[in-house]
């Protein structure tokens, strides 16, 4: 009986690899209200997010970072998916994203193209990579204090 070749199509979906190669909203903002940093202690992946919040809405957002295809493409797709959205809708999005990845739930309809990460659920160590940017954004979603003035050290 021939051993089946491992299939990665499910993990490394085209959309995901595309975001890795061509990240959207990569960079910094002129006037962010928040600057947020996150490190995955397990692997050292880093995601930095700058976001301009006004009227309980994400007006603008940009990210930078260093890490595997999962964490960086997740950050890229996060920015696309939250820009212009109300914080409360973003919170719901995050919950649905987490449910799909952590609890193995079917993707909720509002996830849209974030559904591309469904395959990650089968790789528990990589779930943290996909969740990292969302964890970083948590602070804003839960309404933390705005970023201090001055440059990030």
């Amino acid at each position: 009986m021939p051993i089946p070749e491992p299939q990665f199509d499910d993990l490394y979906r085209e959309l995901l690899l595309d975001h890795m190669r061509h990240p959207r909203n990569r960079g910094a903002l002129e006037n962010p209200t928040h600057r947020l940093d996150g490190v995955n202690p397990v692997c050292g992946d880093e995601v930095h997010i700058e976001v301009a919040v006004g009227d309980s809405e994400v007006r603008d957002i940009a990210f930078s970072g260093l890490g595997c295809s999962i964490s960086q493409s997740s950050a890229s797709m996060l920015t696309e998916n939250v820009k212009g959205k109300k914080l409360q809708d973003i919170a719901r999005l995050r919950d649905h994203f987490q449910a799909m990845l952590v609890d193995g739930a079917d993707p909720a309809p509002d996830l849209g193209d974030l559904e591309a990460f469904q395959g990650v659920a089968r790789f528990p160590v990589r779930v943290k990579c996909a969740m990292l940017p969302w964890k970083v954004l948590d602070e804003v979603i839960e309404g933390a204090a705005p970023a201090p003035q001055g440059d990030r050290q």
Binding site: D18, R21, C43, G67, C68, S69
Partner: protein
């Protein structure tokens, strides 16, 4: 050469499938697998002799104590130490180094005194000295590496001076594989009146060790990286040194006379083994030392030198792949780190795991070195006595798949 096929028979864990493929275990620098003899020693101990040691008069306590102390003598013999009483059992290399930082460092370092270490150290040989520096006002001085991934020995010579109190250096790098000339380093350090700690976590499992000819003052290593169980580390100290040190952890077993305000200590090494030790695992570590002794450490080294050469050549056949550290297997051990162009190490690791191949991806507890190499992380395949050329081939095959997947992304996205 080793009879690898016969050795493999002794390792039950190797005979399993992972993701539908035979397991290829190439994560030995993290921890090694255990031969049946070590597992059996654990079972035998718990089924026949288990008791607390040192203070018992009954039969089981006598047997357990004799076996535990017997392994101390075995460890001493294995590393060429003169006295079993210079061998302290700890949990791991990390605790051994912390013990020195606290029990020797706190008493001997003054503000401005210098601890010299290298940029290739494992976090376990960095953080304890950062903490010590904070407590005492001592200063850390880092030695760089060369472009070939070897210690910048001239810089080391320049840094060591009258303020140097300790040179603490890894014997074999867990990332680069580099074998450092600790004998020469010890001479330099001693000439300046400094002591030398050798982090032997990666050398004790893979090289013949003779602490006396190394000339160091402290030598630290872990059982779990050399066929032994988890939970056992060793600190060896030059004769007389332990006696001169204050105890570290306080508690049962390490005292002589306890009075309400002040107490006196047991003789070394017991002064440094507070509380009930990890008795069973120390005893099982004895079986690991017997196993390695039966093979012969020179033979272990020869096998790994050959296999590391094979692995480096095979890896470098992949276009663009970079092997970090010395390329000459004579100058290095079997921990081979590499970067695959365009594929992050975590992605590499996930993909090769699907082929049953276990390698490690990350910073390998060496963030300073990662920054120096200008990589966020590396992949690392690390070898031991049960590894074979065909397992390297399996890794290389899986790596080709990884590059294919990510090249596919490249070509597709290029079309957009």
């Amino acid at each position: 050469m080793l009879d690898v096929e016969r050795i493999r028979e002794d390792f039950p864990i190797l005979h399993q499938q992972v993701n539908g493929r035979p397991l290829v275990y190439l994560d030995n620098a993290a921890t090694t697998q255990k031969p049946r003899q070590v597992i059996d020693a654990l079972v035998r101990y718990y089924e026949t002799d288990n008791a607390n040691i040192h203070r018992g008069i009954h039969a089981l306590a006598v047997r357990a104590t004799e076996q535990y102390e017997g392994v101390r003598a075995k460890v001493a013999a294995h590393i060429g130490a003169a006295n079993p009483s210079d061998v302290v059992f700890t949990r791991n290399t990390t605790e051994s180094i912390n013990l020195v930082a606290r029990a020797w460092g706190d008493a001997n370092l003054r503000p401005g005194d210098e601890v010299v270490l290298s940029i290739m150290e494992h976090h376990s040989n960095i953080i304890p000295w950062q903490q010590l520096a904070k407590r005492t006002g001592a200063v850390l001085r880092y030695v760089d590496i060369t472009g070939e991934g070897e210690l910048a020995i001239d810089q080391l010579r320049a840094i060591i001076g009258p303020r140097t109190k300790l040179v603490t250096i890894v014997h074999m790098s867990n990332v680069l594989g580099t074998i450092n000339p600790v004998g020469d380093i010890a001479e330099m350090a001693h000439a300046a009146g400094a002591l030398v700690l050798v982090d032997g976590a990666q050398s004790a499992p893979h090289l013949p060790i003779d602490v006396r000819s190394l000339g160091c003052d402290f030598f630290a290593f872990s059982a779990h990286k050399m066929l032994g169980p988890t939970g056992v580390g060793v600190l060896w100290a030059r004769p007389g040194l332990l006696e001169s040190m204050d105890p570290f952890l306080g508690g049962g077993e390490m005292i002589s006379i306890v009075r309400p305000e002040e107490s006196t200590w047991a003789e070394v090494p017991h002064k440094f083994e507070a509380g009930t030790p990890n008795i069973a695992d120390v005893i099982a570590f004895g079986a690991a030392l017997d196993y390695l002794g039966g093979i012969g450490m020179a033979n272990v080294r020869r096998h790994e030198e050959h296999l590391a050469g094979y692995a480096i050549d095979a890896l470098r056949s992949i276009e663009g792949l970079k092997v970090h550290g010395p390329l000459d297997p004579e100058r290095r051990g079997g921990a081979v780190s590499f970067s695959v162009p365009g594929v992050h190490p975590h992605d590499v690791s996930t993909i090769v795991d699907s082929y049953g191949v276990a390698i490690r991806a990350g910073h390998h507890c060496a963030q300073l070195l990662m920054r120096r190499l200008q990589v966020p992380a590396t992949n690392r395949a690390s070898l031991y006595i049960y590894n074979r050329e065909q397992e390297i081939d399996a890794l290389v095959e899986a790596l080709h798949e990884a590059t294919r997947i990510f090249a596919r992304a490249d070509s597709r996205t290029a079309v957009r």
